[in-house]
Symmetry: C2
Subunit: 355 residues, 2 copies
């Protein structure tokens, strides 16, 4: 398609993107296979470069004499306030965590807001308070920002986009290509709570809900892990959209090794398990916003667990799996009853706009 | 207001923000006085810190051994394609220019997209092509990104938010507090073209329009200016929302000195002048997206002009004013007919969503 730069809108339409019929669908934003195909077929062919193509949580660049990490995420969660947090806490946590899992110490956040006409200033103030509190907890500041307003029929409520820049610890290289057979997978606590809390809040706005989002900034906890075992953490990822299934399947695919998850070892709260059963959803597929999947050398596992468990966000830390010899790039779940099944990245998403 | 973290939405409402009746208005996003009051009364009290409070185009932070610049801007322009450019070129240019006017060399861009369900993939591809071409022109890459999709009744078209990180030239400090009486104001070409082009495209979508947006990445041109006169450029700003009036009035207020603009010296194309007359708009108030206001020591003016005029985006460069002794923080326009009037930052905006 030729880019028209005059003001006539081209007919556009039915080109590209697998399964979309030429139109963007909600599931393209879900962080699953459809998102991957949009990235592979539409975004990378245009913007591709070595750094972007790495598709990690943050991009690592040379910046003068330092290695810098840069990340960005949009937040369109609905409702914008949910059990356990709100869009402000979510936007800061998501950005801080993306930097932290890349081994970067956050040095500044940028906050872009798109607000709908008619949005209550008092609600905006509450969101900003939440942004400030979460940033303070993470030990970072919002150093720059931007506000745009759109008509009340042109959006619903508020969208935040946060970017963050960090400086990568010297000598550290966290990457799927560092992963070896024998490495262990560790998570810092029970999974699936963010996505379930938002889904329930949207479906049953008048009910009291027992599942609370885990949304939290993990940068300080992760920093302490890296200080304790600087050479033995090889890769980290925060399992947000696409859930633990997405992160683990991606790890298998990108390392080319087999990744095995032990179902009995994966922490899930009673409330989350019931909610997932009720909704017919696999907890592995549900987004987390306060979890980190750590891949470490086996000898460091106990030390990593000990450091995590000292932190308020790591009390439920557990070893949940390991990397095996088979070079098939498959992620396998060993089930409660001794069965095995392949874990795949979810196709689309359970429900749009959970983050 | 107490931040409620459960899922009942509070009554919220009628607190804060001057003149808003407790609700966000379109003009809060216009970059004028209403935006300033939202920032001063609602945003800074929550997020305030020394870096944010500086309110420059990009934030300057210490990042290891380097000084880093970070900037973010949301783009909600409607129509997303307009004479002279589109939202992709706009998003890259705006971010690159914000870094450049702070004396930073861009090292990476982050692209956040919020796309409405039903948006044509072919159009998205065209926008990404434009992003890629503009980034290549500026010599920088999009190193990370994020895509969210919202329902078709929850937005219109596409919103982009771009963040950029740059490394500040060593020894450089561009700041209003560096400005002295005698300094000159230089602009790289005719003003008001971006805002007018978008307004006309929206109002008269079927007409051929003679005014074209100036949207352009200026980083390479600005880099050459700083190389030529590293010690004699004291401040720069890209006069986007709020126009040249906003940038010049802000310079006066923040330097505490009088800033004088010579109306006859300010370059305005014939087409833009006619369009502004027709729409009853002051060209000084209209957004630019390919202009930089440079404040330089008087002895360097000729050298700055010469470097600008060598560049495709600086052919129309001119000295348009100067800083005077009076310590009243006022910006004054000397008019064609020898009159004088005070230039103020526009109150709201002429029309929403020009960027």
């Amino acid at each position: 398609m030729v880019l028209r730069t005059d003001n006539t809108v081209s007919a556009a339409g039915a080109t590209g993107a697998a399964g979309s019929g030429g139109r963007i669908m909600l599931a393209h934003g879900g962080g699953g296979q459809l998102t991957d195909s949009l990235i592979a077929q539409t975004i990378l062919p245009r913007l591709g470069n070595d750094v972007l193509r790495d598709l990690l949580d943050a991009a690592i660049m040379e910046g003068g004499s330092e290695r810098l990490a840069l990340t960005i995420d949009g937040y369109v969660v609905q409702p914008w306030r949910f059990p356990g947090g709100d869009i402000g806490r979510l936007a800061v946590s998501g950005t801080v965590n993306d930097l932290a899992v890349c081994g970067a110490r956050p040095v500044g956040l940028a906050l872009g807001m798109i607000v709908c006409e008619g949005f209550a200033v008092g609600d905006l103030d509450g969101i900003l308070r939440s942004v400030a509190e979460t940033a303070a907890e993470a030990g970072v500041s919002v150093v720059t920002g931007d506000t745009k307003v759109v008509g009340r029929d042109q959006g619903d409520g508020i969208y935040l986009t946060t970017a963050g820049v960090g400086v990568v610890r010297r000598g550290l290289r966290l990457h799927p290509d560092q992963v070896r057979p024998g490495d262990v997978l560790i998570i810092n606590g029970p999974i699936a709570e963010h996505g379930l809390a938002v889904m329930l809040a949207r479906q049953m706005p008048d009910m009291s809900i027992a599942v609370r989002s885990d949304v939290s900034p993990l940068s300080r906890m992760i920093e302490r892990v890296l200080e304790a075992v600087p050479d033995d953490v090889v890769f980290m990822r925060d399992p947000t959209r696409g859930g633990l299934a997405g992160a683990a399947a991606d790890l298998a695919a990108r390392s080319g090794l087999r990744v095995v998850l032990e179902e009995t070892a994966i922490p899930v709260s009673r409330a989350a398990r019931h909610a997932a059963e009720m909704l017919g959803i696999d907890v592995l597929d549900v987004a987390n916003e306060g979890k980190v999947l750590i891949v470490a050398r086996p000898g460091a596992a106990e030390r990593v667990l000990a450091v995590l468990r000292e932190d308020r966000y790591g009390a439920g830390a557990a070893v949940i799996g390991r990397v095996e010899e088979a070079r098939d790039g498959i992620c396998e779940l060993r089930t409660l009853l001794g069965g095995r099944r392949i874990v795949q990245k979810p196709y689309g998403e359970q429900l749009p706009r959970i983050c």
